[in-house]
């Protein structure tokens, strides 16, 4: 019992969970009738959903000690492609909506595959590759859309995007399901184990027989598909593409993953941590606004939590080595 508890407490994810609980408790204490309400919780879940979907992909990548800066642009690109596909099919039917879904997933996956090929086969470092695709995807999104947001999203899809299932926003349910599935894959499958192995020591993994290049390509493609799904959910939620937006989504996703306890240096990470890490900045922002605090403090707070998370990771690594 003692050692189980110790092991559980040892996980940085646990620390972050406690920090999240402390933040919620503090805001609930300060604003009991406004922060700690069902409708506010629903808002927080809605506002975390798309970030979580994208952060799931980022988790796999960061565990392999890679990075993906292109997620925001890929999301915008796939939302433009999806919206135009649905407009081309026309009408409000389920068929049109499914075409849109397919279009977003495929276009996102295509960018992810491009990232993967450049990183795994051409050996271009992930930072540089995804920095390049960040620009390219955004530029192509502007080319395809003419710089104008596509606003004709089928009504039923928008209703779906703003709907609730048993009181929980639908997009949050979808994000939770994806995060859970991905977490299970990461923790229990060979695919997950290979991800950790590659992150821990890529050369050893290769010599142990793992097809590293193929695995990396599949991970970046997965991240692209998830960014595409994020684009679809964004269309469903807002009823329009938001071409000028999502410029910081890449950093938000990385922040969520790192706050959650995943190491930027690879080999260690938990999906549950990513979920917690996605909530912390959203809850902080929400709480600050309800308090009437100048919004800029939230950036200070999130930055502090991020640094604290990395420091914890460093301490743990040093102890592991000694």
């Amino acid at each position: 019992m003692n050692s189980r508890l110790s092991t559980w407490l040892a996980k940085p994810t646990t620390t972050m969970l406690l920090i999240l609980a402390a933040i919620i408790a503090m805001f609930a204490f300060l604003s009991p009738t406004t922060f700690f309400t069902v409708s506010n919780a629903q808002g927080i879940f809605s506002n975390t959903a798309i970030l979580l979907v994208v952060a799931v992909g980022a988790t796999f990548i960061i565990i392999t000690s890679g990075i993906d800066l292109s997620v925001g642009s890929v999301l915008v690109f796939s939302s433009v492609v999806g919206a135009q596909a649905m407009a081309a099919v026309g009408g409000d039917s389920l068929g049109a909506i499914l075409v849109g879904l397919l279009a977003t997933l495929v276009s996102g996956g295509a960018w992810g595959l491009l990232n993967g090929v450049l990183i795994a086969r051409a050996k271009v470092p992930p930072f540089v590759t995804t920095l390049g695709t960040l620009g390219a995807a955004y530029g192509l999104a502007l080319v395809i859309s003419g710089g104008v947001d596509v606003r004709s999203v089928p009504g039923p899809l928008v209703q779906f995007g703003n709907g609730r299932w048993l009181g929980v926003p639908v997009i949050a349910v979808i994000a939770a399901v994806i995060a859970t599935l991905a977490g299970l894959v990461l923790a229990t499958t060979v695919f997950g184990r290979r991800t950790y192995a590659i992150g821990s020591n890529e050369e050893s993994a290769r010599r142990a027989g793992i097809r590293v290049e193929r695995h990396l390509m599949s991970i970046y493609t997965l991240a692209g598909v998830l960014a595409g799904l994020g684009g679809f959910l964004s269309l469903a939620r807002f009823g329009t593409t938001t071409i000028a937006g999502n410029t910081n989504l890449n950093l938000q996703a990385i922040t969520a993953v790192v706050i959650g306890g995943t190491s930027l240096f690879g080999g260690i990470g938990w999906m549950a941590g990513t979920a917690i890490g996605a909530f912390i900045p959203v809850v902080l922002a929400n709480g600050f606004i309800i308090q009437g605090v100048v919004p800029y403090w939230q950036y200070v707070a999130v930055g502090s939590v991020l640094v604290a998370a990395v420091l914890l990771d460093q301490r743990r690594r040093r102890r592991q080595l000694s």
């Binding site: 003692n2 508890l5 110790s6 407490l9 040892a10 940085p12 646990t14 620390t15 406690l18 920090i19 402390a22 933040i23 503090m26 300060l30 604003s31 009738t33 406004t34 922060f35 309400t37 409708s39 506010n40 808002g43 927080i44 809605s46 506002n47 710089g147 104008v148 947001d149 606003r151 703003n162 964004s234 939620r237 807002f238 009823g239 329009t240 938001t242 000028a244 937006g245 999502n246 410029t247 902080l284 922002a285 929400n286 709480g287 600050f288 606004i289 309800i290 308090q291 009437g292 605090v293 100048v294 919004p295 800029y296 403090w297 707070a301 502090s304 939590v305 604290a308 914890l312 102890r319």
Partner: protein, 341 residues
């Protein structure tokens, strides 16, 4: 738990908890330092006349001089009327950033919300939640596709905005030559109306050739590139009008690089501080400014009227004002230049 075990990993956990408590404490301190009277009940029921009305103003962006001018007007009117004003805004003009702010503001249950929506569609559902929860809504600057949700909308007469810009260009160019207009891409209602007014006015001057519109939303780099290309493609370019003040820096730069400042007459919308400097330096010939401070003042007046059950006009379109070196010091112009209080 054996205390001797408190080394290594459990100690890290406790350190983490300590950090968490510190973080939570700092949040608490920050919150305590800003005096925000929390509405303990629904707000508008009990002793309505003695409790100050809580109004939250959500700007399009938090760091834009135009919105700062609106904020100034709102602050002045709130002080006069005895309302409790909170101001929020995202760092960028992005609905994905503004929606979470609206959600949080709605949760804080203000008596009234004044907002410059960054998208006419995406903001509808979150604002409707606020109206359903009992807050009065006033739209300022931009509007929603379905503005019936709000008690009223205060904007500028954007058709007049474009018309005045065109009038200035026609006057300065003597009614001849090629003229370029730079606006936000179609879909931004303010700019769409501006383009309409601009085109209609220039149709009265048959010797002016209106070049195809170029699109930029206040991005200096983009507008510079647009003007570079236009100067190269159209040697008879004599006039440029930018709807968005943010584009003027790019235009001035491009004109200077091509040494075309004397040949091309530049008129810009908006009156940000750097634009006023450009006006004084002769780099721009006139500015078409919106009555930003008045917008802010009226938004508070209307929200308080709506809360008191008084009538509020559904649409208010404030006329824009042409500012040039002659009238820069007059109160009508000086008060409405874009700057914080």
């Amino acid at each position: 738990m054996n205390i001797k075990h408190l080394t290594g990993t459990p100690r890290t956990a406790l350190t983490g908890c300590a950090m968490g408590v510190l973080l939570a404490g700092s949040i608490g301190l920050t919150a305590c330092s800003t005096p925000v009277p929390q509405a303990s009940t629904s707000g508008s029921e009990t002793a309505a006349s003695t409790v100050a009305k809580k109004v939250t103003l959500i700007l399009g962006t938090s760091s834009d001089d135009f919105y700062k001018a609106i904020e100034c007007g709102a602050k002045l009117q709130s002080k006069e009327a005895g309302a409790d004003l909170t101001v929020q805004g995202a760092g960028q003009f992005d609905p994905a950033l503004q929606v979470p702010i609206v959600d949080a503001v709605v949760a804080s249950k203000p008596d009234a919300i004044v907002i410059a929506p960054t998208d006419d569609t995406a903001l509808f559902a979150p604002l409707k939640a606020g109206v359903d929860a009992g807050s009065k809504l006033v739209l300022v600057d931009t509007t929603l596709k379905d503005p019936s949700l709000a008690a009223g909308h205060i904007g500028s007469d954007y058709v007049l905005y474009g018309k005045q810009g065109a009038e200035q260009i026609a006057k300065l160019t003597g009614g001849k030559g090629s003229v370029l207009g730079i606006f936000s891409p179609p879909g931004v209602s303010t700019n769409d109306q501006g383009r309409e007014g601009f085109s209609k006015e220039l149709a009265n001057h048959p010797d002016i050739k209106v070049l195809p519109f170029e699109y930029s939303s206040g991005e200096a780099g983009k507008s510079a590139a647009i003007v570079n290309a236009a100067l190269a493609a159209h040697p008879d370019l004599v006039g440029i009008f930018t709807f968005n003040g943010g584009d003027s820096q790019g235009v001035v730069t491009a004109l200077r690089e091509a040494n075309a400042g004397s040949r091309v007459n530049f008129v810009s919308g908006d009156g940000q501080p750097f634009q006023v400097e450009q006006l004084k330096a002769g780099l721009v010939k006139s500015l078409v400014i919106q009555q930003a401070r008045t917008m802010g003042k009226l938004s508070i007046e209307y929200s308080l009227n709506a809360l008191a059950g008084k009538e509020v006009p559904a649409e208010t379109a404030l006329p824009t004002i042409v500012a040039n070196l002659d009238n820069l010091e007059t109160p009508e112009v000086a008060d409405n230049l874009y700057r914080p209080c």
